[in-house]
Symmetry: none
Subunit: 472 residues, 2 copies
Amino acid sequence: MSSTPDSAVRAYIAEHRSRFLDDLADWLRIPSVSADPGRAVDVHRSAEWLAAGLRETGFPVVEVWETPGAPAVFAEWPSGDPGAPTVLVYGHHDVQPAAREDGWHTEPFEPAVRDGKMYARGAADDKGQVLLHVLGVRAHLAATGRTAPAVNLKLLIEGEEESGSPHFPELVRSRAGRLACDSVIVSDTGMWSEDTPTVCTGMRGLTDCQIDLYGPDQDIHSGSFGGAVPNPATEAARLAAALHDDDRRVAVPGFYDGVVELTAEERALLAELPFDETAWLRTAHSHATLGESGHTTLERIWARPTAEVNGISGGYQGPGGKTIVPSRAQLKLSFRLVAGMDAEKVQQAVRAWVADQLPAGVRHAITFWGATRPCLTPLDHPALQSLVRAMGRAFGRKIRFTREGGSGPAADLQDVLGAPVLFLGISVPSDGWHAPNEKVGLDLLMKGAETAAYLWSDLAEHGRAVQGAPPG
Amino acid sequence: MSSTPDSAVRAYIAEHRSRFLDDLADWLRIPSVSADPGRAVDVHRSAEWLAAGLRETGFPVVEVWETPGAPAVFAEWPSGDPGAPTVLVYGHHDVQPAAREDGWHTEPFEPAVRDGKMYARGAADDKGQVLLHVLGVRAHLAATGRTAPAVNLKLLIEGEEESGSPHFPELVRSRAGRLACDSVIVSDTGMWSEDTPTVCTGMRGLTDCQIDLYGPDQDIHSGSFGGAVPNPATEAARLAAALHDDDRRVAVPGFYDGVVELTAEERALLAELPFDETAWLRTAHSHATLGESGHTTLERIWARPTAEVNGISGGYQGPGGKTIVPSRAQLKLSFRLVAGMDAEKVQQAVRAWVADQLPAGVRHAITFWGATRPCLTPLDHPALQSLVRAMGRAFGRKIRFTREGGSGPAADLQDVLGAPVLFLGISVPSDGWHAPNEKVGLDLLMKGAETAAYLWSDLAEHGRAVQGAPPG
């Protein structure tokens, strides 16, 4: 069925596992927090580290692409075979903020291996899943005896994903020629579990914002003035509360316009997954489920748009009480989008809704940090079938389907490049993305590299069917 | 109408005005800042200065009462007349911090007289208003030819009012026998303006709390879990938003139980005050009024109970966005109480309401910091009528009524001593309490002394009706 001998791939990966993990740990020591202006130097160091690693791997073209924000890394390794399909691997080298005092058992930027897992900020999201492609392409070459990959392999590893990828769409548009491809492989997601490997067929989009509310020009005495002037903390709370109706549906008018609803088949496939609510709640570190009525938990997190309060603040926060009407308050909100939704329309709807909710005497400012579009690949797409086969060989199990509740810039690639987006992710839900003690399973990382090694051969074989296929 | 000839009172006060102002300036030179541990010696000096002045005035009993904090001064001058009512004057001898560089035109502890006003920290709040009682009782004795006041006169001048009166309730409870009285005169408030003398008839009470909400055990990814688990920041917002209904009435069930509503007469009297909303908004540093519908601004801040969000926090507060469902959130709420409300019942109502609002999966804890009871003296109370008459004679104008929106230790006196509280305050809003260039009007101080001189005679005449009257 494939030209890549499985045993040779596995042998190569086993032999190079230790060196690979050392390399990953080196990279994880660079605190490439894109949201923190004070870490800009580290984000650059991270890009240079990766570029050097890709050159050493053998990529003949490796470039650091500057943006007005953080730099991306681009690499290209032509196949040399006439008619070989072109694949673009997407990932990111920036990470979420992390501090020991948030609850980390070890330093977030000093990787520690315990029980077959590597703990560090970025271990799973996304440095581990980027670096598995370095090992994957080496195993692919070693096992096939090739000197170049069976596909024209391109990598685009951005540096602002954790900051909402503000410059990514422009980067992709301006470099669309260099990035042209037949399919996109996104390695920035996860799978169901170690025992239930899955392929993801879509991601939610995202747009998030900060709303600043201004009431009195200074904090004022709640006895002298309270109850007679607007309180921006109260208004922030009223906005956040009004985001959802009593069915926990998003109450911003127009929010659901255009939403592609789940088909009966999709609902049935989702229902097949061995979902254990108790275990899921443990993963969510949560004590109950709560969400849009009429939908299961998996539907809520994968296929339904949501609104979330990421942060709220205003007034006195120290010990004890302080009887003031605060001068200011702030909300940080994020909206997850599904196929059929337009981020700009959602932003407009939110702006109109906020302006409509606030009373006289409370000024406001809204800043949207950016937008990531949702994407969805049909279940019967040929490239998706290749990925399912490659993964099936690596994992030795039936591959099922999921979606991803999170958001990535994959949809920009889909839109600009006109290529379907596939998700090769080996992280599992307990890996703690954006949370303290983020980790990645070392065996899963190896299976991910193995999947990549098979995938380039499989796509090369079935590539003609893929070329030019429109996005789903 | 009264046994005190007005002309004799005025003559005495005019004659002793200069000496009185020298005395006041002496006292104001002592920087009795109770909040500053480095000024503890000065607070003690201030107490001793006052005690010496009261002895010189003729009070046969003068004691400095030590507390675990700053000392209070107690003085007593029995009337000698059988059946004379007993009056307790309350004030404080400590002051707010002040420094020249805060914007004072002259040294805050070097009193300066300009344009008929004395500028110094404590001039109005509260040393001037305490000392007017020394001149007042002297004028009362001189004009009536008495050797002791017409009432049993007691003074309790505390030393920690500007630090929240931490030891005052215990002091009052432990000395309740010595402090027993038929009415309390609080001289630590103000009146509407020079042209509109007023008597305050009550203060709001206060109880405030912190509510901690706990959702996921740690911050979690809003893409992976958002929309399917409860978010404590959302729930904090829903609580804060649900505090008020669309009419901005407090929506906690039972909150208004027992509230003594304004009578039509009281509403009419409040509406008579020359209220300038634009000027008031400037004082409030606010840009619009907003409050319980069906009530004017003055009613809202003086006579209506309120709920205020003093602080709210939860989730990410740094720059940019962070797509999390936060683990925790916190609310700081305060409730102003009016006559008829019971702080403990309000606390119980809030506790029950919070528990009822929260969904499964969000734990909570409520801590109430304490409670200050409201106080209110009915307009037709005989002691209040005495005060209005005395003030009317001193000011030669119709005396109108106000209330005080803030909360103070007066209610402790009312509760422990079972006596109605009356407010004799001659400060005006522009006197700059707690602000740079605090001042007191010299003519107003004299009118205050004149009011006290008439008041003791009037209360003695009408005292029998006062004795034993329960608080309103």
